[in-house]
């Protein structure tokens, strides 16, 4: 079983490759990148004019299984990932039950192996039930396949508990991923605190809710030596604090979501829950700071925070709707639109943010096209014109603010473990 991807622009930041060449895949592994490759009975994929990159990693998704299968399943989420150019996804532990034990971790790993079309890697909870008080079985979850720990959505408010978690995580070699939100400062808030929230009479979530938590965690990371990662960074000050910590040599990283570098609160449709997520869409100044953080290298990964919610939950009064939007299928297009097409970053840098960037945090052993590597490949276009129709999404949910948006560039085909799992 072999595939030759012909004549694409092969960009592999891990090996420093950026040239037009053929990519040969044999028996699920990368066999080589060179001009004029061929193999008997190989499937030929003409990638002329397309970019051929290592399969993208999304280190922050919600697959809702077990417990909320009406919103998403491991299988449906994986299909949406494949249609977005992602070949490996890391799923947050806020399922039902919470992934705070080896049992749940193993269930997700096994179910993923059997039903998912991409590689699924669970992230374990920091505390039992993500309740913020008692540490979860971190070592056992790691042994069962967890690649990081996080209480995403329910951040650990108790600094002492967080300190202990960081100490444990460090001893197990696991990164600690924090959804940075001081829950007392943000309580009751539905959108970014600013002119818009005041105008619309909606309670605000101040930027300080994120900044306070990032500041605390950076101090604790320094105290404990933990590998610390800020999820979906959204404020100017948080970006500055992460940049400063990295400059001082701390093992600190951060991710940004496509919606936080594509949209600001000014772009929201009034009371449209497809614009409601945490952290909220911030000011245009914050959005610019996130882009600057990506440009400068303070932000090291793009992650979608794909958060499916069924229509019945999103079709409510704004303040009653749950937080979160889906994002797997639009991530490449939005990154091209907001970052690459305007010349803010190079295409190679964008590929880094989707491959070596997250790989350096979660260590999946993927994200390269070097010979011998597992053949996970993202093939995408930088100029294909297409319109996102959320009703055609592979996700079980439809909560996207990007429905009907026309893009220039997007995913074209995805290969996982040497097999096509999606083609446009």
């Amino acid at each position: 079983m072999s595939i030759v991807v012909k004549n694409g622009r092969v960009i592999d930041p891990a090996s420093g490759t950026d040239r037009v060449a053929d990519l040969l895949i044999v028996d699920g592994l990368i066999a080589g990148v060179a001009p004029h490759l061929s193999s008997p009975r190989a499937e030929i994929f003409d990638a002329t004019g397309l970019v051929v990159a290592p399969g993208f990693l999304d280190m922050h998704v919600h697959l809702r299984q077990p417990g909320f299968e009406h919103a998403e399943t491991i299988e449906s989420g994986s299909r949406a990932a494949a249609a977005g150019g992602f070949t490996s996804i890391c799923c947050m532990p806020n399922t039902k039950p919470v992934n705070d034990s080896a049992t749940v971790t193993s269930y997700i790993v096994e179910h993923g192996r059997r039903h998912a079309v991409v590689n699924v890697h669970p992230i374990g909870a920091i505390t039992k039930g993500s309740a913020g008080t008692e540490l979860a079985a971190i070592g056992a979850m790691k042994a069962a396949g967890a690649v990081a720990i996080s209480d995403d959505g329910l951040p650990v408010m108790n600094a002492r508990v967080m300190r202990r978690a960081m100490e444990f995580a460090r001893s197990y070699g696991l990164p600690v991923i924090e959804h940075c939100e001081d829950l007392n400062l943000s309580a009751g808030g539905d959108m970014h605190e600013g002119v818009r929230s005041v105008r619309w009479g909606l309670r605000g979530i101040p930027s300080a809710a994120e900044d306070v938590m990032v500041a605390r965690d950076l101090l604790l990371a320094e105290l404990t030596g933990a590998q610390y990662h800020v999820a979906h960074i959204s404020t100017r000050r948080a970006v500055a604090m992460v940049a400063a910590a990295r400059q001082r040599g701390l093992p600190v990283t951060a991710e940004a979501t496509p919606h936080h570098f594509s949209l600001a609160d000014d772009d929201m449709e009034p009371y449209d829950s497809n614009y409601k997520m945490k952290p909220p869409l911030r000011s245009s100044g914050d959005r610019e700071a996130v882009i600057e953080g990506i440009v400068s290298g303070a932000i090291t990964a793009i992650a979608t925070d794909h958060a499916p919610h069924p229509g019945s939950e999103k079709m409510q009064e704004f303040e009653r709707c749950p937080f979160g939007i889906i994002g797997l299928e639009t991530a490449i297009a939005l990154s091209l639109e907001a970052l690459v097409h305007p010349g803010r970053i190079s295409l190679a840098r964008m590929v880094e943010l989707f491959t070596t960037g997250p790989e350096s945090v979660v260590h999946l052993g993927r994200g390269t096209l070097e010979p011998g590597a597992t053949a996970d490949v993202a093939i995408f276009s930088t100029d294909l014109e297409w319109t996102y129709d959320v009703n055609q999404s592979f996700s079980r949910s439809r909560n996207s603010p990007f429905h009907n948006r026309t893009f220039r560039g997007g995913p074209v085909a995805t290969i996982v473990n040497g097999e096509f799992v999606w083609k446009r």
């Binding site: 309580a187 009751g188 605190e193 600013g194 002119v195 929230s197 005041v198 105008r199 619309w200 009479g201 909606l202 309670r203 605000g204 009034p270 009371y271 449209d272 019945s312 079709m315 409510q316 009064e317 704004f318 303040e319 009653r320």
Partner: protein, 302 residues
Amino acid sequence: MPAGLLGIEELDRAAIDALLARAKDFQPLQSQSLKKLDTLRGKMIVNLFFEASTRTRTSFEIAAKRLGADAISITAAGSSVSKGESLVDTLNTLAAMRPDAIVMRHAASGAPHFLARHLPTPIINAGDGTHEHPTQALLDARTILDRLGRLEGLRVAIIGDIAHSRVARSNVYLLSRFGAEIVLCGPASLLPPELAQLAPGVRLTGDIRDAIRDANVIMMLRVQLERQHEASFPASEYFTFYGLRLEHLDLARPDAIVMHPGPINRGRELSSEVADFQRSVILNQVENGVAVRMAVLEKVIG
């Protein structure tokens, strides 16, 4: 989106002028012995109140009946809402009975705007959360015009829990359209600085004397304890620093009027003497509510 009335923010000056002028036409009717017209005969209006309200609901109901329309009032308690039906399902059910308009009050900001995107029936916002209360601002403007003859160039002080006030927002949008100078006053925790950017001509102050000085209109707001999700201000101190007392009125213009959207809390946001003060127009506001709502219903349905 069907033509309803969701807020003042989306109305231009001409549209506001037209409604205020039409309300004036309806004023004499209120004191006649025969008060009923047949302008909206055969039309059906549903008043849907998810939040307790006496004056607004009654006022809309009377306005509908004086125009000859049939009006039904539904309150959340005892309706299908209390059986767990979602808002959009409740409204779809009502819309299927083909009313000509739905008048709606809801505790969630934007609830009528959300529904207007999904329903064919015109929706009139009778107060949404901490966002807008358009007919209140219209009846306030009508009352100011009756007493002072103009809105242009007036200095209006709005005092109280501005952050949580839909009355304040709608009044800011309306008065600003006419070039009024608006001073918003309250404790800092109830006066977010972003309010200054709501509309042109808005200034903020934490000092009630500063707010009242040279004011033509003093609007007091109810301290809405039920909208405060935390203690933003020590309640025991409120009246001391932000309650309106007779001696404050010496700072205002000699013909200044005192307004309040009601229900008033004597001794909390204004003293009993101020409530009964001769230049208090609180009951005129209530009376104008019917005329203004008649104008709105006629415009939306007629």
